[in-house]
Point group: D2
Chain length 454, copies 4
Amino acid sequence: MDDYEKGMSACFDAAKTWMAIPAPKRGEIVRQIGDALRAKLHHLGRLLSLEMGKILPEGIGEVQEIIDMCDYAVGLSRQLNGSIIPSERPNHMMMEVWNPLGVVGVITAFNFPCAVLGWNACIALVCGNCVVWKGAPTTPLITIAMTKIVASVFEKNNLPSAIFTAFCGGAEIGQAIALDTRIPLVSFTGSTKVGQMVQQQVSARFGKCLLELSGNNAIIVMDDADIPLAVRSVLFAAVGTAGQRCTTCRRLLLHESIYQTFLDQLVEVYKQVRIGDPMEKGTLLGPLHTTASKESFLKGIQNIRSQGGKILLGGSAIESEGNFVQPTIVEISPAAPVVREELFGPVLYAMKFQTLKEAIEINNSVPQGLSSSIFTRKPDAIFKWIGPHGSDCGIVNVNIPTNGAEIGGAFGGEKATGGGREAGSDSWKQYMRRATCTINYGSELPLAQGINFG
Amino acid sequence: MDDYEKGMSACFDAAKTWMAIPAPKRGEIVRQIGDALRAKLHHLGRLLSLEMGKILPEGIGEVQEIIDMCDYAVGLSRQLNGSIIPSERPNHMMMEVWNPLGVVGVITAFNFPCAVLGWNACIALVCGNCVVWKGAPTTPLITIAMTKIVASVFEKNNLPSAIFTAFCGGAEIGQAIALDTRIPLVSFTGSTKVGQMVQQQVSARFGKCLLELSGNNAIIVMDDADIPLAVRSVLFAAVGTAGQRCTTCRRLLLHESIYQTFLDQLVEVYKQVRIGDPMEKGTLLGPLHTTASKESFLKGIQNIRSQGGKILLGGSAIESEGNFVQPTIVEISPAAPVVREELFGPVLYAMKFQTLKEAIEINNSVPQGLSSSIFTRKPDAIFKWIGPHGSDCGIVNVNIPTNGAEIGGAFGGEKATGGGREAGSDSWKQYMRRATCTINYGSELPLAQGINFG
Amino acid sequence: MDDYEKGMSACFDAAKTWMAIPAPKRGEIVRQIGDALRAKLHHLGRLLSLEMGKILPEGIGEVQEIIDMCDYAVGLSRQLNGSIIPSERPNHMMMEVWNPLGVVGVITAFNFPCAVLGWNACIALVCGNCVVWKGAPTTPLITIAMTKIVASVFEKNNLPSAIFTAFCGGAEIGQAIALDTRIPLVSFTGSTKVGQMVQQQVSARFGKCLLELSGNNAIIVMDDADIPLAVRSVLFAAVGTAGQRCTTCRRLLLHESIYQTFLDQLVEVYKQVRIGDPMEKGTLLGPLHTTASKESFLKGIQNIRSQGGKILLGGSAIESEGNFVQPTIVEISPAAPVVREELFGPVLYAMKFQTLKEAIEINNSVPQGLSSSIFTRKPDAIFKWIGPHGSDCGIVNVNIPTNGAEIGGAFGGEKATGGGREAGSDSWKQYMRRATCTINYGSELPLAQGINFG
Amino acid sequence: MDDYEKGMSACFDAAKTWMAIPAPKRGEIVRQIGDALRAKLHHLGRLLSLEMGKILPEGIGEVQEIIDMCDYAVGLSRQLNGSIIPSERPNHMMMEVWNPLGVVGVITAFNFPCAVLGWNACIALVCGNCVVWKGAPTTPLITIAMTKIVASVFEKNNLPSAIFTAFCGGAEIGQAIALDTRIPLVSFTGSTKVGQMVQQQVSARFGKCLLELSGNNAIIVMDDADIPLAVRSVLFAAVGTAGQRCTTCRRLLLHESIYQTFLDQLVEVYKQVRIGDPMEKGTLLGPLHTTASKESFLKGIQNIRSQGGKILLGGSAIESEGNFVQPTIVEISPAAPVVREELFGPVLYAMKFQTLKEAIEINNSVPQGLSSSIFTRKPDAIFKWIGPHGSDCGIVNVNIPTNGAEIGGAFGGEKATGGGREAGSDSWKQYMRRATCTINYGSELPLAQGINFG
């Protein structure tokens, strides 16, 4: 914790320098960071794949995402626009001005060390904030590699590398960040349980949180869906990253009329999934991240069985070195308690419904509210799904999987998912302090609402 | 609490109806509410003055503010715009869609029963939410009067009046709202202490809060200031509403070169303040709201004295019927603990500074971060004050008082003030659920970040 | 023309007063105008119906539209927002500020005297401009009635009624407005031919135009369309307002597979259209506006015949008092020259197509680019239609008619329709002057793009 | 002109391909263009300096500007946002969608071949348009160099290089572009006279223009100004680029109280201006661009003398190889006709004023309306200057010169300057076609404004 204080203190010092640099100049630094990462795209992708366990195309895709975020943030550095709002008083100018917060804490999880860092840090940096990053304790190499690359850019520009300060440690570092009054915003990605603790600690000291917590994401397949498209999507959504995305599809809601056909096709496709070394071409399913993940998977399967779930496929660990488990499809009632929880692995719960209304109710019936998809070709179903009586999630897709978000939109979810929004749209506003400024440049003192005082 | 459940249940039922009505039609209803209030502007202003104790021009001004909010919300009902964001995938459309939350809880304080209601309810209603309002237990007449007027408009339009459901009760109703899982957003105005409790309760059930908590607002007077303008402003800011605004000026930071002159003039003006019946023409200072307020004032004065504060003027209650106290000016060190707290009455702490930098440090040194003003005519001071190294408050004024906000901007503060933003700007987004929607209307499944899966 | 100079001179004088009034206060005046019109909604609707010839529900609907515009403009008066844009230079503030133009000329046509006035005048007024209105010479009563109502509001507020100055005259007034250097913006609604003349005159003196010119609007009906919905829509779009809307459907593109069925049903519905006194309940088709309109209709029919058009229904004037003509359906080739022109009456050209691509090509093949609709339930068709390879019009609808726009969106068309946009969205920007302001509040002179000079 | 047709035809063909590529992918291409230019920054800067005649730091600065535009456009490619606007009709979705125009013509002038290209082409490209560029006939090397670099990027990405098509020719190419119906938007930079001709031709075929025409820019120096800052600014603004910027300061309005002092200091600084080889370190003033420019300068000086102007300094050509002229300061009355015209060289008209009001009147009294600056430290003067009664220009600066705009704001001017806006802010909207789309996904046909038809 001496390290924490030392690092944090340098970071806090650097904040005054960094926030005084004009935003477009900060953007230029972030552009250089993007270029430095781009130069090492494949190396970083391989490292990510090696350390986290995701397959190589996903590893490279994830590094691409932080590069995309850099490119995006460069443009944004000239568009962090405040407003000039018409004042009701003569000779008054009313403005909404955005200023940096100072230091932003970013606590990421093992499954997306680069992408989630990118969503937060690229935006936070152009907004004028220093970044304190705590990567997952199980992905230290990525933390170190990223940090070195970023530091080299700051140094080349004669800026303190403490503008971006990283820690590899565990819960004690997270704890320190949550309690540190010098950090007005903490962006936390992880479980709902830990996220809520963080929020209570941060808000007790009047700080703010940006939470990306558990998901429990459903795909609805309507009777008129493009079945092959839906099958491919469910495969990617449920098996991709070994089911360890927050946007992994965990619940599959099938219209009764296509229920059996769909499951038959899905089982067929699942059987062809190549399991193995994530670095190897052709592999679709690598190992779970840790032994603990595997144990949690096995315990989850037990719970499923005890709650009446019927394993259609998979359901076991694979005897081999590494934490490999079988991609698993389960038939289960939406009412089973296990369905309300996030089991972080390639386990998919299949359920049947009769009407769109019913499907939406099931979709919305869990505590989490991250991502959701429908497969249909009916405009009325599409627009109902995205409307006031539709999905209650932060991500509401149509004819694409629950996962695989683009950076231009805001990423995040409602309810137990924590309500944060990161990456695109106006997410940047969360990393700045909004001030409503009224300047009187006249010599009179008219009052709002026409009040006459004295 | 049976009443609560009955009211709340009707409100929750009404939510489905209300959110299905197109936003511009909801705007038309809010327009009618505005007209109904306008027709009773003076009656309501008098009632407010009578019940709350603020002087009549302020009472009428406050009712005007909710009317202004209605007018504003009507226009807004056609501008609750989502976005269409360019997708990186062919044949995909990415959108950001805004949907109603359902029911919004609004807990207001005694000092601004109408205005704060207006900031929240007018916006919440056009956004498609029902409103559950808990007014202060000490202003039941206003609660009843407002509710009746609003209900009559809904009824005239054959809509359930439960769309706007009000309660007059005390803490037990506030508690019920905080715990009610049917209420995804609770807007709370009150003390920091209670606000934090509310936040912890609401976030424990995955709800959101919009907090408007304590202020501790400073006015800085620079050596080049327009002194008469500043004196008038401080008077309005410190004595207006008997010092019972969240934006009341509590700290007066004077440049040493004008310190004595300014205080002399201010004392002169304070002496002319007419204290008395708030309904009477010419009165500037009415009574405090309750006996408890008066006691708290007296206790505050004691603390001030014990911490080395020197009472320049006032400092006593007035012997008379009603909770009248003297407008009070105190000389005190910024380091005195009492200066960090909000004393809800007409007490002003005067302090001396030498440089703008020092003044800003004092301004930012308290836990609260609501409002702040500087009086100066130097552009460099003005722009520093509103920039990254300036005031850390949500409201940052120049040459106007700390109080008297217009509705077009966002109202609210940082740090212990709670971070909420109400009324204008994009405050409406807090009353809606944001969904990032991606629609694939093609037959292929390209993945973001160019990932190739399977 | 003495009258013109006198009126215009008073208007120009009033401009300095009006633009100095804060925008929200101007909004309050516009709110009162809305209320004054609302109080006379039915009287004005009847007058409109009487003078212009449209049926009563349409007359009332049109007056409702200017009232809606007033309500909308009130909210807008607090949202005419400029921007604060991050500067790349330290101690610099860059802003985009919007200021009034001064005086805006509004030249409207006989068919929508109130609505088009509302789109322009309500926005222009809150933006801080005075308005010079020239109504159609054939609708003087409406011009006078509107002007009196508006004037009374200004007078009640002790403001010069010349802020809104109206003329009933003909081309000579239009000419004077086009040439008047005191009028930086002329909004013109009328034919493409006259509109282009106006534009050349206005731009020769460095003024700007906002043009709403001819339309030639198509409805495409796909093989999967909801036929009854499409039939009703075509009826309203082609026969409503006796075909005298700029958004009237003039071309009906039917997929070959439903071509005959659709036409049969349409003919059936057309036969039931009640023609007669527009004030009478049940009438759907009133007279054309003038004898000249009727003659133009008859000449159009002649051209149609001579170019190979086959009259399926109608095609004649009706023997009676008033300028009544039959609602007419014509089968014709898209290549016939007459199809490229706007015939201002209830004449519909039916054509056949085989593919969506072909239908879009026909839709886009005319000089005009105002409105267009498709009837289909396929998402891919819908999104193609509204995408880069779809309709080239300013209004691109799906499953609704070409006419009947809401005020929240921007109204206007491309190509020979003139490119103007009125009513909602960011149309207000056209009524203001944009200034990019950079304020240096430091004492250094850093240059953009890092240039070093001297 | 065969070349034109061949080039244009390839470009028009390429348009269908380019507009079908998702905007963020187009952004990635523009990013690569930026990188390719960055790799050659110094070479291109030297070439520009050599061919155009501007000093090397300005040459490099100008190339930096197109690179900045590329970086900016990359971010923008994910933010070309349309809107979803609340519909007043149930089961309807209203949207504002932006689609590419197809092909955009860009006609640039000799003085800013790269920067103005960048403002237009970078934005046009990410918006989905192909670009037809006509550079100045006197800067063919830059045209060729830029085109080759851009083409190489397209080719590396297997895209047709005709997406960016350039011509080196003269007026006949400009003419062809103006008349070409395949080019819906022509961006023209040049004289007011030619610009107006282009506009009339383009609008006669229903195309649109984006005009950046003559400037006649004033700097106002108030009595309280920071004189050294103002002197340096005037020097850069009047002498920089040898007075051949559209934003060059041509009129210097001095408060009578500082008139003589200011002029004395300015003359002193002018005398130290090093004239010579623009490539040489230390040179501040290079030659005029062509012999014709020099002749125009000399003819201008004659006119000045004949209209009563008094040459304080300079006023002659310099005897040497190259088109060198002396930096010139003239005392002249604001009423002299020559003051209303743009003389494209380093000639500065000095004038005297007594009040801010008078200074603003002089500023606004010329036909052009591009740029303007005030030097003052009074907030009331600053805010008046940028407000409704202030400068009527598109660029309104405070304490910085008239020239040297940043790309984040919109660049352009009012009145005879043509009204176009390029580079930042929402300038991108001009390069796209706006469509107001309403989708009915229900089965009913409610009409706007509550109309009942049939």
